[in-house]
Amino acid sequence: MLIMRRRALVLAGGAALLAGRASAQAARASAVLADPVYPFVLPPLPYAAGANEAAIDVATMELHHDKHHAAYVANLNAAVKDVPQVAAMPLSAMLAKLPELPEAIRNAVRNNGGSHANHSMFWPVMGGSGGEPGGELGTAIARDFGSFAQLKDGFNRAGVGQFGSGWVMVLADATGKLSLVARPNQDSPLMDAKRALFGNDVWEHAYYLRYQNRRADYLAAWWNVVNWPAITERYQAALGGKLAI
């Protein structure tokens, strides 16, 4: 009886372990995000707030996700709730069709919709342990930037050079071609029907508590928490034309 119970426990433990593995896979798969629809919701952080400690402190993670991102989501919902023809669109379409949206809500959708897309992309491309990507993505980086070191250098420079608030991102098109962009404020590549493979937030709220005025130090440290397995999944999705945001 006792033996059987122990065996059952071992089995249950094994099942829990398998389920744990499956959910770890599911968490990585979630780096390829569904196109958000109204009513928009704040996606949970895909890891503990301390998971990025090698670059970002817990207080910053919590404020950034629980306050900043949450406010953008609330403001986006408020902007579109009384405009059914806009609320019916997925987020990528709202941003791609900005010039056609009613003027009264265009800026609110640009700012808060862009924010929601950018931050939703941002969380899952972190939570990793840095290093250097290999495989097809590594080859594409070498082809399009010369080397991984050159990508990092260009990315960090673009991040420092983005005056005021904004983002620095690597875009991927459906052929797998990569390019580097810096955009002001919360402007999203979705506004140009393009897709971010990954990117870093260079608003001061992203780094002020730990790095203060030293944005360059934040950009340099950020590579320590980049999640290459997650970004590789996004790259595969981009290649298939299946990267929604």
């Binding site: 005021g164 919360q186 002020y208 005025n213």
Partner: protein, 200 residues
Amino acid sequence: MAFELPPLPYSHAALAAQGMCQETLELHHDKHHQAYVTALNGFVEKNEALKGKSLEEIVMLSHGKPDMAPVFNNAGQHWNHNLFWQNMSPTSGGKIPGALEKKITADLGGVDKFKEAFKAAAVGQFGSGWAWLVLGTDGKLKVTKTPNGSNPLATGEGKALLGCDVWEHSYYLDFRNRRPDYVQNWLDKIANYEFAAAQM
């Protein structure tokens, strides 16, 4: 002659009791403002057309020119921060002199309405930038906002009496994400309305 960082007109700790801590002022004045001055001097050194020009002239001539955006950004921020330090007071912060209050009431409908409008401008300036109380070319007060390093001098909206920095570096240590609270506190306890009145 190279541009210089003006000294703070009070100690770094002078506004701490009013809601702007010593570390904020150390970083903001000694690091952020200094970086704008250093960058501006670097641009002037490399560009004959900028040598010998006043700060106001550089702001005006670089405004709206995409190829001069980095010059404008840093010149604008030097001008803005020069004003910002004078726009705060450890002794008379928040106290509106009678003459200015009268004009605020006449032009903007009262002090509460002015503060509401100023707060709306400050909160509505998405990203980094400034909110302003301006004496317009028509002689009337108005409230405006500008992104990043721009200002009423560049936009030609009139004479800036008060400018409140709403870049996150201005308030993140003291107020975190709560920009509305920062601006309300700034208007109620920090803003140097005596300086503003003297500019009219």
